[in-house]
Amino acid sequence: MASSSSSGLTFKLHPLVIVNISDHYTRVKSQLNLPPSLTSTSSAATSNNNNNNSNGGENNQQKPPRVYGCVIGVQRGRTVEIFNSFELIYDPSTRSLDRSFLEKKQELYKKVFPHFYVLGWYSTGSDAQESDMHFHKALMDINESPLYVLLNPAINPAQKDLPVTIYESELHVIDGVPQLIFVRSSYTIETVEAERISVDHVAHLKPSGGSAATQLAAQLTGIHSAIKMLNSRIRVVHQYLVGMQKGDIPCESSLLRQVSSLLRRLPAIESEKFQDDLLMEYKDTLLITYLAMFTNCSSTMNELVDKFNTAYDRHSRRGGRTAFI
């Protein structure tokens, strides 16, 4: 069912959407697994929770619940950027979508984010199913070609890829009958600077506040890990190329072309204007650091002079009080 999409749209997904969906899912899941005794301490509650899970009488605990919601964002030309999402009320047994709720929520979000509109819907699960098509069709009267964002909430520590897939719907002719089926599309993660910092902050749970030294250390660690990542990726490409040269790996010309185009881009920025701009920025930074150091020095000097005056001021010590200037 999931072949690759041919619509030519590029998708950009913001991390906020992913955290939103995950939060929605966690909330619904924890409301269903009620910790029985609530007056006990947290450790007792978690052990009770574990007991509940192992007894596992209800269906809800064995099969994780599916949550549904709407994704909103902007579409500019061929680029679709998904910024935010909110929950929807949908009953899978009767297949009814609560329309008034959807409209109400849309209105509320329009007031705060006037540029965003409904781009599609999301759900959790491991794979796109046939029944999802009903929801998809229901949304088609708001947006002619909605997106379906699927998040797989199963935590698999061996997984290296984000368990999020974006599906589009396309009209294909199967056995002579034109049907809508889901086709997978690729997407990239797009962040605003502020988003990146807060995601980074929460991802690594850095100590908040603290002295300037710890903050500097934290930021440098971030950059260091990014550089390490770049280094490891380059190494992988290098190993691959060496393997191809030796003949261990079959030559793949499309990949070779990509690598050569990347390499050709490298010494691109050698022009004089770039050097001038770079040096100007460099000088600005150095100047500011110099100024900060200067201010520090002058304040220390000031303090020293004050202390000197207080300690060695012989003339006024006998008189009693002096006027402090």
């Binding site: 991390p15 906020l16 992913i18 955290v19 939103n20 995950s22 939060d23 929605h24 899912y25 966690t26 909330r27 899941k29 924890s30 409301q31 009620l34 910790p35 609530l38 947290s42 509650a45 978690t46 929770n49 574990n50 929950e87 709720f101 509320l108 007031k111 705060v112 520590p157 997984q159 290296k160 984000l162 368990p163 990239t188 993660i189 962040t191 605003v192 600077e193 502020a194 988003e195 990146r196 910092i197 807060s198 995601v199 980074d200 902050h201 929460v202 991802a203 749970l205 850095k206 100590p207 908040s208 603290g210 710890t214 934290a218 890990s225 990014a226 990542m229 770049l230 930074t285 100024l291």
Partner: protein, 277 residues
């Protein structure tokens, strides 16, 4: 394993408290216990002690939403509300949402405009399965630090009289982006006439000259709470995987270019304060 030893030394020197990795059983913080919350609302243990709440726990989602909203306002102050619950001496913030009002520095009761929006939003949320109540408000101070201005203090005092438990959070999106770490502060005001018994030393922050008066007059009327963050096990897993994608953005970010105005403003401020002394 030198790196392991180095890490342990660093952790020891910086008093890093090991946060236990969230596992599915610790996600119970996400469970909203209506009965217990109603009981604690009736008991009101914060009524007698103005310094009752000492900590704030903010969820990853709430932090993300607040910072993005604050940054999207640019140089205009924006505000919103936070939803959550109380847990002992901590206020737990689970979610946040933006309010369609702008500019709180000149109007004391900007929240009155947003009441209808707030009621609608809370109702729809309860239907969709978010059962928490509004537990505070947040707003941004773009470029001038995290503290409560005179108007903020009077708004918060009013809130704490009628909408307890309530929390005030301030975010500075400009400093966040230029420093590379989230600049956030959580505050609660003391009631009128209350003198705090111990004077906690607050962290020094540079405040622009045109705001320093406002800061100084009111800085003793409120106290800051300790902020910690939490995330669910699924969040943890997803965020780790996300890192594989956005390390490129980390390298390609350039805080100098993005914050040219802010840096220039700070420098001119510095110049003026040099002239004054």
């Amino acid at each position: 394993m030198d790196s392991a030893i180095a890490q342990k030394t660093w952790e020891l020197e910086n008093n890093i408290l090991a946060v236990e990795a969230p596992n599915p059983s610790s996600d119970f913080i996400f469970y909203y216990d209506e009965v217990a919350q109603a009981m604690s609302l009736k008991a009101k243990p914060w009524g007698n002690d103005p310094h009752f709440f000492k900590r704030v726990k903010i969820s990853a989602l709430a932090l993300l939403k607040m910072v993005i909203h604050a940054r999207s306002g640019g140089t205009i102050e924006v505000m919103g509300l936070m939803q959550g619950k109380t847990g002992g001496d901590a206020i737990i913030v689970m979610d946040a949402f933006a309010l369609p009002v702008e500019g709180t520095e000149t109007r004391v009761n900007a929240q009155a405009d947003a009441y209808e929006y707030m009621v609608d939003y809370s109702q729809t949320n309860k239907q969709a399965g978010r059962l928490e109540n509004v537990v505070g408000w947040y707003h941004s101070h773009p470029g001038y630090g995290c503290w409560l201005s005179g108007i903020d203090v009077s708004t918060q005092m009013l809130n704490q009289q009628f909408q307890e438990p309530f929390l005030a959070v301030v975010i500075d999106p400009t400093r966040t982006v230029s420093a590379g770490k989230v600049d956030i502060g959580a505050f609660r005001t003391y009631p009128e006439g209350y003198k705090p018994t111990d004077d906690p030393i607050s962290e020094y922050q540079t405040i622009p000259l045109n705001k320093i008066e406002d800061f100084g007059v009111h800085c003793k009327q409120y106290y800051a709470l300790n902020i910690t963050y939490f995330k669910s096990s699924l969040d943890c897993h997803l965020l780790d995987l996300l890192w594989n994608k956005y390390w490129v953005n980390t390298l390609s970010s350039s805080p100098l270019l993005g914050n040219g105005d802010y840096v220039a403003g700070q420098l001119s401020d510095l110049g003026i304060s040099f002239l004054c002394t």
